[in-house]
């Protein structure tokens, strides 16, 4: 038996679904607008059984993780570089700040011209989108590392890579993980847009396709999947925080 505190967060979603089912059964909702939860569950089952759901899910997950790895990885590297090396910041930061202010989605026409409508275009959009939260937070984390601790470590003969590994990087970690968490949420938002541009697979494609045929139940399956995947990503970043920041009483 799970502890009540584990179940409590799910009480509201479950209550909403129950209310929704009741409303659909009573005829307050037309199935054209919102199908009953049972119909959505059946659609989910059918899609799962045919294997269609899993292939879309796999495609979307692959896109999300690859896009996140590229964008987040570059953001981390450049954040560390610009945060640590003044000259790199002088050279690169202004440019990055200008690029940051262009909404990733405004690049869609150019992206389609450059990369066509295949995977590269989608990954590019995702990577650009998740780059900045990770970059900014890493940069900020490195810059706001406690100077007193750095001074202390230097006076104890800790310099170079050990100083970076034992003092600066751990000090920046809470901030870096905020960036990671933000990016993991953002990656799903961007993925929906990227997959609706033009795709042959993925949850976004499945949803858009269903819309064409007025299959509201499948549209809802897609939407709920995004909600669950988003929650999963958030859970993952919470787990990372709990593990890496276990020394910090605020994360225990």
């Amino acid at each position: 038996m799970a502890k009540p505190s584990l179940l409590a967060p799910w009480a509201l979603p479950v209550a909403l679904i129950v209310f929704w089912e009741v409303a659909a059964q009573a005829g307050w909702l037309s199935s054209r607008i919102l199908p009953e939860p049972w119909a959505v569950a059946k659609a989910f089952w059918t899609l799962a059984e045919s294997g269609e759901l899993w292939s879309h899910l796999r495609t979307s997950l692959w896109r999300a993780t690859t896009g996140f790895a590229i964008g987040g990885g570059l953001g981390l590297l450049l954040g560390l570089l610009n945060g640590s090396v003044k000259r790199a910041e002088t050279l690169l930061d202004t440019t990055l700040q200008m690029i940051r202010n262009i909404p990733a989605l405004a690049l869609i026409p150019l992206v389609i011209l450059w990369f066509g409508i295949d995977e590269t275009a989608k990954l590019f959009l995702l990577a650009v989108g998740v780059f900045f939260p990770v970059y900014l937070n890493t940069f900020h984390g490195i810059r706001s590392a406690d100077q007193g601790l750095i001074e202390m470590a230097r006076s104890y003969g800790v310099t170079g890579w050990p100083l970076y590994r034992d003092v600066i990087l751990p000090a920046a970690l809470p901030s870096i993980l905020v960036g990671v968490r933000f990016s993991l949420g953002l990656v799903w938002v961007l993925l929906i847009v990227a997959e609706t541009i033009s795709a042959q697979a993925g949850i976004g494609y499945m949803t858009m396709n269903a819309r064409e045929f007025l299959q509201t139940d499948i549209v809802l399956v897609g939407i709920l999947l995004y909600a669950l995947l988003g929650k999963g990503a958030d859970q993952l970043s919470c787990g990372l925080e709990k593990y890496f920041l276990r020394w910090n009483p605020a994360y225990r």
Binding site: L149, A153, S155, G157, D166, L173, W247
Partner: protein, 252 residues
């Protein structure tokens, strides 16, 4: 108590006991920030193994003097010679705050800057009475315990010169007296040279062989304390000295 057994302890004996402290020679030391002189023309000779307290009002330059000796400040004038010319001196500093790395265990904090010397670190932790807290995070310790860990971290290097920058300023009165006794005991055992910056005249008189008063960046008073160690507090001579120094500091 160990302190009483060496109550007639003097500077020369301290050096003889440990053979460990270093002498210091400051000539015409000057330092200014933005055109304002913080230190000017400080000339000072310290005997090996001497315990010197530096007092003065806030902003008088006493911390800057200590940080200059530690090499954390760049001098604008004069020179500081620590120990014999050309020999490397092991000096450690204790700061106002404990400056422990919150992401390292207490033991790893003590072992900072050492390679594979966990035995020595554990031994140092035992000398400050915290061996059973070795695997705790620093955040769960009290203020006094953190400063004891910081003291262990300084002592594990077996320094010839220990610089103390108001390390007890933030502690409650009882913990402070305990820490003072601990520092005195370790100083007697090990014979290092100690320079303590403090705003607490009583603390200075209780611990030091010599009390220096810094006034507006200059050496205002150089007072030798010839009271027997371990039972200084509460004696008439102590009270008289305290009165004398306080009225000088306050300018009466």
């Amino acid at each position: 108590m160990q302190i009483n057994s060496v109550e007639e302890h003097t500077v020369g004996e301290a050096a003889a006991l440990g053979q460990h402290g270093v002498g210091l020679s400051l000539r015409g030391v000057g330092k200014s920030y933005g055109g304002r002189a913080v230190l000017s023309g400080i000339d000072l000779q310290l005997v090996p193994g001497e315990f010197v307290a530096v007092i003065g009002r806030s902003g008088c330059g006493k911390s800057t003097l200590l940080r200059s000796i530690a090499g954390l400040e760049h001098l604008d004038a004069g020179s500081i010679q620590i120990g014999e010319a050309g020999s490397a001196v092991d000096m450690r500093m204790m700061f106002q705050e404990a400056r422990l790395l919150p992401w390292k265990s207490v033991l790893d904090n003590v072992a900072l800057g050492l390679t594979g010397a966990r035995q020595e670190a554990a031994a140092a932790l035992a000398t400050v009475g915290l061996q059973e807290r070795a695997s705790d995070w620093p955040t769960v310790l009290s203020g006094g315990q953190r400063q004891r860990v910081a003291l262990a971290r300084a002592l594990v290097h077996n320094p010839q010169l220990l610089l103390l920058d108001e390390p007890l300023g933030a502690l409650d009165a009882l913990t402070r007296i305990e820490m003072q006794q601990l520092i005195e005991k370790l100083w007697i055992e090990r014979g290092f040279t100690a320079i303590l910056v403090t705003h607490d005249v009583q603390e200075a008189l209780a611990l030091a062989d010599r009390v220096l008063l810094i006034e507006e960046g200059r050496l205002g008073l150089d007072l030798r304390i010839d009271l027997p160690r371990g039972q200084r507090r509460g004696t008439g001579a102590f009270a008289a000295l305290e009165h004398q120094v306080l009225s000088r500091v306050l300018g009466h």
